[in-house]
Amino acid sequence: MIEQKIVEPEYLFFQADREEVFITGSEALKEAIKRANVDMAISYPITPQSESMHLVGDLYVEGYVREYFRGENEFAVMSAVAGASMGGVRVFTATGGPGTLRAFEIFPAWAGARVPVVCAFMTRGVNSPLSIQPDTIEMAFMLHTGIVMFHAETAQDLYDMLLKAFVIAEKPDVHIPVGVFADGFFVTHTREKVKIDPAEIKLPPYNPYSSPVPVMDMENVPVRHMRDPFVMKSNFISYAAHASWQQEILAAAERARKHIHKYLGGLVETENEEAEILIIASGTAVSQSREAIALACQEGLNAGLVKIKSIRPFPEEEIRKLTQKAKAVIVPEFNRVGWLCKEIKSVVEDNTKVVGGPRVFGGMTMPPHLILAEIRRCSQ
C-alpha cells in the first residue's frame, strides 16, 4: 500500500491546497477514491460506468485500494459489497442504468442492514429500446430504497460528493448507504477543470465501532433477519419490530440533513432566488438551466435557479419556502416520468404553478432553448 497521510475530513474538504486539473468525470471519481481510504472495491462493468471502476482497479494496482475484484454480475457485486461492509471495512462500487436495476433488490437490503456503503450511479437509459446514453430514470426507482441520494452536476461535484459521502454514511447517527448519482457521459465522459486535493492525503479509516448496530452478530438484527426473519412470525411483536426498524432507517436519513449542511453547504444551492420564475433542477439539468437563464437574461427576462444536491433526504422545507413567492416553477428533467417534478409538487403549497418539463429522455441532450421557451411562456 502507498503511504498517505491521514487528515481530518474537514481539512481535506475545505483547507487543503487544491490543484486544478483537466480531467473527465470518471477520472474525478478515481481521484476521489484515491483519497478516500477505501479498503475494498468490487466492480462489474456497464457503460457509462466501466471507465470509473476500471480506474479504481488501477488504484488497486497502484496500492491505493486494499482489495479489488470483479463480481459475476451487479446483483453479486452489491451482495458482496454488503458482506464486506458488514465485515467492518470501507467499501466502494459503482454501476448505472440496467446495472442498477439488475442489482435492485440489494439497495433496500443495504439500507435495512445499516451498511454505510458508498455507491456511484452513472445514470443511463434502461432498456428497452436499448440506449447507453444518459437518462435519470433509474433515480425514480431508487427514491424509496432508504439510501441517501446525492446528484452531481459536474465532475467537481462528483469528486466532492463521493468523498463527503463516506463521511456522512459512516456517522453513527446515520450509518446507511449513500448513492452519488452522476449523469452518464454528460459528467462521466466530459473533460473539464476539477480542483483536487494533494494525492498524499486521505480520509481517516472507517471505524466499524461507529456502527449503531452490532457487526455480524448472529443474535441481533440485521443478521438475525437472515437466520430468523420476522416474516416467519405472525404476531404483533414481529410486526412492530419490522415497522419500527423501517422508520428508524427513514429517521437515519433525516439525521443526515445536519451533516449534509455541514459538508455540502446545504441540500440546495440557489441563485437569484427572489425571481418570479424559478427553475428547480438536479444533475446536469442544472447546467442546461444555467445556460437558459443566461440566454433569458439577454432578452431581459429574469429567472432564478434552485439546484437540488440531495434528493434523499429531500429538501422539503427549503423548496416550500423558496417557492412561496414565485409565480412559476419550471422543472427540467432528463427522464420521461418527471420524478423530480412529482417530488416538488408534493411540497409546493400552490402546486398548480409547477411546470412539469421540459423533459428529454433516451439519451437526448436537452437544448437550453427548450427551457428558455418555458421561461418566455411563464413571463407572459
Binding site: 483537466f22 480531467i23 473527465t24 470518471s26 477520472e27 457503460t47 466501466s50 471507465e51 480506474l55 447507453i132 446514453q133 444518459p134 449523469d183 457521459f185 454528460f186 459528467v187 465522459h189 466530459t190 473533460r191 473539464e192 477543470k193 446536469t284 447546467s287 442546461q288 444555467r290 445556460e291 443566461a294 441532450t365 436537452m366 437544448p367 437550453p368
Partner: protein, 233 residues
C-alpha cells in the same frame, strides 16, 4: 474571445474523433481558455458513427452534452455524409450562421442541391481537406487522420496555436496517465509502435498539422445556383 465556440466532430469509430477533441481541448486550456470536451457514441466498434464535442470560451461553460448548435463542424469521413453515419441528419443540422464546415475528402462531395441551398442561406463556409491522404503520406499511417483534421482547423480558424497543439500532443502520447477505453488504448499502441520514440511521433504529427493547415481549401457556394461549386483558391 468573448463568445463561446462550439465544435462538433463527426466521424467513424477508430478514426480518433474523441482523441482529436481531447488534444484540442487540452491545447485550448494550455492557452488559458476554458474548454469542455465530451464524446458521444453507441456500440463501441470501428466504423460505427462516433462524435465528439469541444466547447471553447473565455468564461465558464455551463451547457453540457451534445453540441446542438455548432459554429464549426468537422467531418472526419465522407461516409458520415454519403452513408448517413451520423447522429444528426443532415450532417450540418444546427450549424450556426457563418458556420464553418471542414470535410475530410480528396474531392468535393456530391452534396444535394437542397443541402447546398441551406448552407448558402446560412452563409456557411465549406472547406475540403484530404486529411487521410496527408496522414498516410506524411505520418505513414491513416491513424493520423484526426491530427490532419486539427491541422485543417488551425489553417482555417487560428482558434488555437500550433505550439499549443504540439504541447497537447506530447502530453497525450508522452506517457502521462490518462483515461482511454480498451479499443482506444489498443489504437494508441498501434500508433506508438509506428514510431521509435514519442518525440518522433510528435514531430511527424506536427508535420501533418502543418501540411494539413496549408492543404485545406475553401469551396464557394454560389447562393443563386447552389449545386455548382466554384473553387476559391
Amino acid at each position: 474571445m468573448n463568445r463561446k465556440i462550439s465544435i462538433r466532430m463527426s466521424g467513424l469509430g477508430g478514426q480518433g474523433v474523441v482523441t482529436a477533441a481531447h488534444i484540442l481541448g487540452v491545447a485550448t486550456t494550455l492557452e488559458g481558455l476554458v474548454s469542455t470536451v465530451n464524446p458521444f457514441f453507441g456500440a463501441e466498434k470501428r466504423l460505427a458513427p462516433a462524435e465528439s464535442y469541444v466547447r471553447i470560451s473565455s468564461s465558464q461553460i455551463d451547457e453540457r452534452g451534445e453540441v446542438l448548435y455548432p459554429n464549426i463542424i468537422m467531418i472526419f469521413h465522407p461516409h458520415v455524409i454519403t452513408l448517413g453515419k451520423c447522429y444528426t441528419m443532415p450532417f450540418f443540422d444546427g450549424l450556426q450562421p457563418e458556420g464553418i464546415l471542414i470535410i475530410n475528402s480528396e474531392q468535393p462531395l456530391d452534396l444535394s442541391k437542397e443541402d447546398l441551398t441551406k448552407l448558402g442561406q446560412l452563409n456557411a463556409r465549406l472547406f475540403y481537406l484530404p486529411a487521410t491522404q496527408i496522414a498516410t503520406q506524411v505520418a505513414e499511417t491513416e491513424l493520423s487522420t484526426n491530427i490532419a483534421m486539427l491541422g485543417g482547423l488551425v489553417g482555417v480558424t487560428r482558434l488555437v496555436s500550433v505550439e499549443a497543439i504540439r504541447e497537447s500532443l506530447a502530453e497525450r502520447f508522452g506517457g502521462r496517465k490518462f483515461l482511454a477505453s480498451a479499443t482506444t488504448a489498443a489504437l494508441d499502441d498501434v500508433l506508438k509502435s509506428k514510431f521509435a520514440q514519442v518525440t518522433q511521433l510528435v514531430d511527424r504529427n506536427m508535420e501533418v498539422v502543418h501540411k494539413a493547415s496549408e492543404a485545406v481549401q475553401e469551396y464557394f457556394i454560389k447562393k443563386k445556383e447552389a449545386g455548382s461549386l466554384c473553387m476559391l483558391r
